[in-house]
Subunit: 254 residues, 2 copies
Amino acid sequence: MGTPNKLGFRQMAARIRQEIIDGVYLTASVLPPEPVLADKYGASRSLVNRAMQVLAAEGMIRPRQGRGTMVTYIPPMLHSAARYSREARESGAARGAFDAEIRELGLEPQHEIIVERAVPPNDVAEALGLPPGEENALVRRRRLLASGIPVRLNASWFPLSIAKGSDLEAEGPNIRGGVKSALAELGYVQTKATERIHVRPPTEEEADALEISPERTVLDIFHVGKTESGQAVEVTTTVTPAHYLVIEHTFPLN
Amino acid sequence: MGTPNKLGFRQMAARIRQEIIDGVYLTASVLPPEPVLADKYGASRSLVNRAMQVLAAEGMIRPRQGRGTMVTYIPPMLHSAARYSREARESGAARGAFDAEIRELGLEPQHEIIVERAVPPNDVAEALGLPPGEENALVRRRRLLASGIPVRLNASWFPLSIAKGSDLEAEGPNIRGGVKSALAELGYVQTKATERIHVRPPTEEEADALEISPERTVLDIFHVGKTESGQAVEVTTTVTPAHYLVIEHTFPLN
DNA sequence: GAGTGGTCTAGACCACAGA
DNA sequence: CTGTGGTCTAGACCACTCG
């Protein structure tokens, strides 16, 4: 029967957005083809295409040439400074929280990990107090996915002088007790952290790795962990499509 | 002479973006009309319009029916937890920092302030421990602009039981020493704060007040200030187009 | 080869602002 | 009234995926 009154592309986007949130279209399923939607809403395919662009920019969907348009909606997850507490780490909650949250949504958590020695980017080298442009760091790169939808990119950088030959170079999805425990066993106990957060468009590589449209925005978290003496021993960068995260932190005043 | 090779709308957007960043088109000036750009780039106006949509979603420009397309690019500003330090407040730096940053860009800072008693939103009422749905709070709403471009919405909420008849109800662009000092004089010294940050699409009212296109994302900061006893005495919400802010904070580990 | 989304055009009508 | 951006159509061609 179609739709009696004509919709603008924003309204069309709004309606489809609501249907996704309501579960009419399930996450990781495929939307009807644009010509079908055009017929359903009594509009031209151009208009449907523009509505799709709006939803893609929000991260609700991911259209792909030849493959159709997949629903990629995932509600935001909490990123709390409390995740760095000793209890959270020892219980494996830092890792487990991600898995649990994803599973609760009925999706399958997946992890990809690459450990390698590399030349750190300039901002990382500077934060770690390393000379720039040299292969003087170890990096653990992780890509986290939910039922095949990439949701987060992590890279943890350590000075090679500290990490060389240690547990940190071990492959595998996780380090027993977490990287902070591994560093502590090496004599580098972290007592303070600084985070810098900003929102920006993704680089081309990030857009590819996260499989998002170029007009999506990402949250970029630059985390520096320091020892009591003020030495920076770990830099972890997190890049995630912006709406996937809620950040919470507490701090003393004065 | 136009442009020899045809550009896609993303490339067209990229070129104009770069020209804006390079200062070819100045912030608060007006871009050439779409038909002129269409001619310049040898494309249809539809394509130019779509490129404009991309740049508008990024916050680089603000197209307006009948009025032309204004350049609204403003580089990000730092939002650091350190802004709450006593020194920053007493020197007026919290306020001055905004003005100084804007002036440094060659723009004119402007402030609009409304002080009134109102029914707080549910999340604010809950944070302040107030019964919902009652006119039991005082709110100081501020809109910050740079040469007529709105860049930030602030609303500071206080329990009416505390703020009634105090300096907090005073009109005017600023309170001597800041609201935290005013609260301290009333016997409510804040010693701890919690912030919850997330990125989301603007509400319709916010899009209007910030004069942004609906597909822009905003940063939403929900700040709760508490006394030593744990009583919440101030909630400040900040809404700003996402790319205008960089957030930085430091916290102890363990 | 058939079907998908990605892009683009030419033209149209509308809503709005400003002289 | 003129010129602006906002929307929309009908049709076209292309790049990509998959059977």
